[in-house]
Assembly symmetry: C2
Homo-oligomer: 120 residues x 2
């Protein structure tokens, strides 16, 4: 299992990441970028938002290390950071109750394909 980042900097990173995800517009931008890079205006389009508002949301996502950007000529393109959501996911997964982990293992055992006995 991937470990979530620990220590003060790890906690600060998780703070930024979870807060960045605590906004439906920013979540929609992440969901859009899953399908490939996009320019600011492409990202702005579905939201009918002023570009500066969109840029502000993208800055929050960039500070949270969820997206990165590069400027080619006059166009800035945003893309999802590979494995961007792994730290948030790892934290959530680490919070399973001990009894749930046991149940998971039992579930894994029960759903694993068992060798079938041949009846001939």
């Amino acid at each position: 299992m991937t470990k979530y980042p620990e220590g003060a900097e790890g906690e600060a990173q998780l703070d930024r990441m979870f807060r960045a995800l605590g906004d439906s517009t920013r979540r929609a931008m992440v969901a859009r970028l899953v399908h490939g890079p996009a320019s600011v205006s492409q990202l702005a389009e579905p939201f009918g938002m002023a570009l500066p508002t969109v840029v502000q949301h993208l800055r929050v996502l960039e500070a949270a290390q969820l997206v990165s950007s590069e400027k080619v000529g006059r166009v800035r393109t945003y893309q999802l950071v590979p494995d961007a959501l792994v730290p948030a996911n790892a934290w959530i997964v680490a919070q399973r109750r001990p009894q749930e982990s046991r149940l998971d293992r039992l579930g894994d055992f029960l759903t694993q394909p068992q060798p079938t006995e041949k009846k001939d």
Copy 2:
């Protein structure tokens, strides 16, 4: 796969949940409650925080449907809502890149125990 909540209310719920998790003290409270219910003063202890501050954090967690509380006599006890983190986790899992899902399936295939050929 569990679906994350959709529609305006679903988005608002995810907003509250991710924002509630965007604070290291609140995450530590969730991590504590994974191991069982606790009173406000038990939750306050490791943080060396004033009780009103702790109560404020707990209210944010309760509004996000991550914890619930009940008062018996003069003691209010908090507990984790069962499957509390499922909506947040479901949203994160839904953001996998299409090619990652394909790789996951390939990975599953490759790591599945294969029938071994007996050499006798």
